[in-house]
């Protein structure tokens, strides 16, 4: 079967799709992957030119235990289940994960007083490995921590994960199993008939029997097309700074703030790419596309970072970015089936969505059957191995076996991130290929390093343009 990934032209006509998922983020791709197990005609439509291109690409990249979820909430259950599923999936497919553990650091008495309650909450969430550390134990674990910390809650299973490879793996597997992926396909209008929905998209009509709304920041708008007006997505901007790889040795754990009345606060975390992340800010906006960073935001982050890890501020900044979380004004996910419409809404998936994604996929597929979808018999998905972007296991430039087979894996093009010609070529020819320089960066890390293209920019651009159909 030829994989179907389209980006232009009319959508395939003929019979309606059995299921269409709107939104190619980590949640939409996870749902599409789950549906791909069944003998269904499934489409995944995405408004932009790549999967994982909205909220999913710009988050804090943490694989949560769910220790601090609201016990009993839908989110708590899906995060706990999703964490288990994704950790296992990542190990099987080569998605980089590092189990570095988290420390919730208390910087004042109010914060320290909250720690036992957080420990109890973790227990209520079924997480039993957390424990309290006094200041000495804390500085033992994290010697470069700024002065004045009073103690911490240790959560040893919190991990960092690659936020880009995850939806790419889902989408790749879904497409290999026959799901049609339509990019640059914005849903403009939806007509719901007795048996089919007709989606008017920027690329023409698309008919489908069942519909899943995983449109992230735009989930409320899609919902209104179906006549539902139960929530509003308010984009909550999180600005983040990525520090150079030479800063990586400064920090060993994810350093989480203790949530207090003042909000969730700023974290410092290693990344699987070997960098250090500082952020996010938390700003409610009116504009669902405003991913600009601001002088105030960066100043705020630097002040926070200076307290948490003073030496971090002496290191070079590699990248600054902002992501938008889909806040709905409610503490829980807004996943709702509408049986009369053969429709499921997957809204309000917040920062835990990456962790919960596989569990959301299974949950939503279950809801679809409640709306009448007959899944048929599940089959094995094709096995895949994702290119390794993580520093914890050898990247191609360190692998004599690969270079021996193909010298392109020994030809480093992007020097800061040590990305080889072979990896760039692979990303441009993959099942879900890179269609932009940003997409190429998320698949290979090319141009994503400290020089931001000073050395390799034009060479990478030339390779990209050469491969562009």
């Amino acid at each position: 079967m030829t994989p179907t990934v389209t980006r232009a032209g009319e959508l395939p006509d003929g019979d309606p799709y059995d299921v269409t998922v709107i939104g190619g983020g980590v949640v939409g791709t996870a749902i599409a992957r789950e549906l791909a197990k069944y003998p269904l005609r499934t489409a995944l439509v995405e408004a932009s030119d790549d999967i994982g291109n909205g909220t999913s690409k710009a988050n804090t990249a943490i694989l949560h235990t769910g220790f601090d979820a609201v016990p009993g909430s839908l989110e708590a259950g899906l995060v706990r289940e999703g964490q288990r599923l994704l950790a296992e999936y990542a190990a099987g497919t080569g998605i980089p994960v590092e189990r570095v553990g988290a420390l919730l650091v208390a910087w004042d008495d109010e914060q320290r007083a909250v720690l036992p309650a957080l420990l109890a909450k973790a227990e209520r969430n079924g997480y039993h490995a957390a424990r309290l550390l006094d200041a000495d134990e804390l500085y033992d674990r994290e010697p470069r921590l700024g002065p004045g910390a009073l103690g911490a809650l240790e959560v040893p299973d919190e991990s960092v994960i690659c936020p880009w490879t995850t939806p790419l793996a889902y989408a790749t597997q879904a497409v290999l199993a026959g799901v049609h992926l339509h990019l640059d396909c914005r849903v403009l209008h939806i007509d719901t008939g007795p048996d089919t929905h007709t989606l008017t998209t920027s690329r023409g009509p698309l008919r489908t029997r069942y519909l899943v709304n995983a449109a992230g920041l735009y989930a409320d708008e899609i919902d209104r097309h179906l006549g539902h007006d139960t929530f509003t997505v308010t984009p909550r901007r999180g600005q983040l700074m990525v520090f150079d790889k030479l800063a990586r040795d400064l920090v060993r754990h994810i350093l989480l703030p203790v949530p207090t009345s003042a909000g969730k606060g700023v974290l410092v975390a290693p990344t699987v790419f070997g960098n250090v992340l500082l952020g996010p800010t938390s700003e409610d906006l009116g504009d669902k596309s405003d991913t600009a960073s601001t002088a105030d935001g960066l100043h705020f982050l630097r002040e926070k970072g200076r307290r948490i890890l003073p030496e971090l501020l002496d290191e070079e900044v590699t990248a600054v970015y902002a992501g938008l979380r889909a806040a709905t004004g409610q503490e829980d996910y807004r996943i709702q089936d509408h049986p009369d419409q053969r429709y499921v809404t997957v809204g309000g998936i917040r920062s835990t969505g990456l962790t919960a994604s596989l569990a959301i996929g299974a949950h939503v597929t279950g809801l679809l059957t409640r709306t009448g979808l007959e899944l048929g018999t599940a089959r094995e998905l094709p096995g895949i191995t994702m290119p390794n972007l993580g520093e914890a296991s050898p990247r191609p430039y360190l692998r004599a076996d690969l270079i021996d087979r193909d010298p392109a894996y020994g030809t480093i093009v992007c020097h800061c991130e040590r990305v080889t010609l072979g990896e760039i070529r692979d990303a441009l020819n993959a099942t879900v290929p890179a269609r932009s320089l940003d997409g190429l960066r998320r698949r290979t890390r090319a141009r994503g390093g400290r020089c931001q293209g000073f050395s390799c920019g034009p060479a990478v651009r030339a390779l990209f343009e050469e491969a562009r159909p």
């Binding site: 002088a295 935001g297 430039y397 020994g410 030809t411």
Partner: protein
């Protein structure tokens, strides 16, 4: 995992003017097997993509960067150095040999290698800080360059750039960027600097056909996917937006010090390169450093001269060298001076290149007096004949080196 293992006498990392200069001189002086490794496919370093003149020394001063780069490459190869391109030093082997040699790990199309050298010369150069490192807020549109990327795109790859460009920085490299933009057919809308206007500028013919906006800070970039403008705040508080589709961040060079740091070399706080003495010795015996890795950007011929000057101390090291030098004393500067190089004392009698130290300042100083002192004792006092200005080297004679107390603390240089 298989690795090809070899031994050489001197391994030079980086084939820009400094590394090639060191390689040429060492090979010609009988240092034995001298190997230069370059991660780019072509040797020559940054001058490869500089099409402006002013490289080299008179009478060949009219050379362009690429001509100069080719001449540096030819000189090193002719002298007998082994030059290998497209191979990257990825790190230092964990198990270093016991005899003071160093082992580097290398990746290239032919596979992995481990090369042990009796002396290592780091010549990894410098790069410009990109927009992100300068913490310029705003969207993340395309059309944002450093000079290095722009010059490669235009001169090496013939890639199109935009039509309306703003250049941030008015040092020589900024003007080179403006020239490159014009070569590519772009209009330079303005050049922007946070510095005050130079008093001499009014007397001179304007260098460009574009306005120079002084005392203006970049406060953001507008545009989500494609750049639409650069916002500025002037010193008087006014803000403006320059409409453009291309912006080049120039200058603000930082040493490419990854290998130096991975080796655990002591760095200088000012230059951010390895701390080094007049003999180009770093804090790790047998590891030398040359060129713009040491002090970010000086002219190519300075980097080349440093490379050549390092040959003699490297040869002394190979020969077993003089007895260990006394504990080096660090040199440091006070604001608004940014750095001094070299920045530690070396063996008795060792003088820096041309008998003088190089310095930079963060703001313009009219004919300052540079005061050298140690532990409250004044060692020297030198008046500069010309103003010291940001982005340009000025010098301090090294005559006072003999008066440094080798057991004393840091020698401080202050501008008064």
């Amino acid at each position: 995992m298989t690795r090809d293992e070899r031994t050489v006498d001197v391994l030079i990392v980086g084939a820009g003017p400094a590394g090639l200069g060191a390689g040429a001189e060492l090979a010609a002086s009988g240092a034995g097997r001298v190997e230069i490794l370059e991660r780019e496919l072509d040797a020559g370093g940054v001058p490869r993509h500089c099409r402006h003149g002013g490289f080299g020394r008179r009478p060949r001063g009219g050379e362009t960067g690429d001509e100069y780069a080719r001449r540096c490459v030819a000189a090193a190869v002719r002298a007998g150095a082994t030059l290998r391109t497209g191979v990257t030093v990825t790190g230092w082997a964990e198990n270093a040999p016991a005899d003071g040699a160093h082992t580097l790990e290398i990746t290239g199309p032919a596979g992995l290698e481990r090369i042990t050298a009796r002396a290592v010369v780091l010549a990894t150069g410098a790069r410009e800080r990109p927009r992100s490192a300068r913490l310029v807020p705003g969207g993340r549109p395309s059309g944002v360059y450093t000079t290095g990327e722009l010059q490669q795109a235009v001169h090496l790859y013939r890639q199109p750039v935009g039509t309306r460009a703003v250049v941030i920085g008015n040092e020589a490299v900024g003007h080179a960027a403006a020239d490159t933009l014009r070569t590519a057919g772009a209009e330079v809308v303005a050049m922007v600097t946070d510095q005050p206007p130079s008093p001499a500028a009014a007397l001179l013919r304007p260098r460009g056909r574009f306005p120079l906006l002084t005392r203006a800070t970049v406060t953001g970039l507008t545009g989500r996917t494609a750049l639409t403008g650069v916002t500025l705040r002037h010193e008087d508080g006014r803000t403006t937006t320059l409409r453009c589709d291309t912006v080049v961040f120039t200058g603000d060079f930082v040493p490419d010090h990854e290998l130096a740091r991975r080796a655990g070399l002591t760095l200088d706080r000012g230059t951010r390169g390895p701390a080094y003495d007049a003999e180009y010795r770093t804090s790790l015996p047998g590891v030398f450093a040359v060129g713009n890795l040491l002090h970010a950007v000086e002219k190519a011929r300075v980097a080349s001269a440093e490379g050549r000057a390092a040959a003699a101390p490297v040869l002394r090291h190979l020969a077993g060298g003089p007895p260990p030098a006394p504990r080096p004393v660090a040199l440091a500067v006070d604001a608004p001076l940014l750095w001094i190089a070299p920045n530690r004392t070396g063996p008795a009698g060792a003088r820096p290149l041309r008998g003088r130290f190089v310095l930079r300042t963060a703001r313009r100083l009219e004919r300052p007096v540079l005061v050298v002192s140690q532990d409250g004792r004044e060692l020297d006092r030198q008046r500069l004949l010309l103003p010291a200005v940001p982005g340009r080297a000025f010098h301090l004679g090294a005559g006072w080196l003999g008066r440094v107390d080798p057991r004393g603390s840091t020698v401080r240089i202050t501008a008064v």
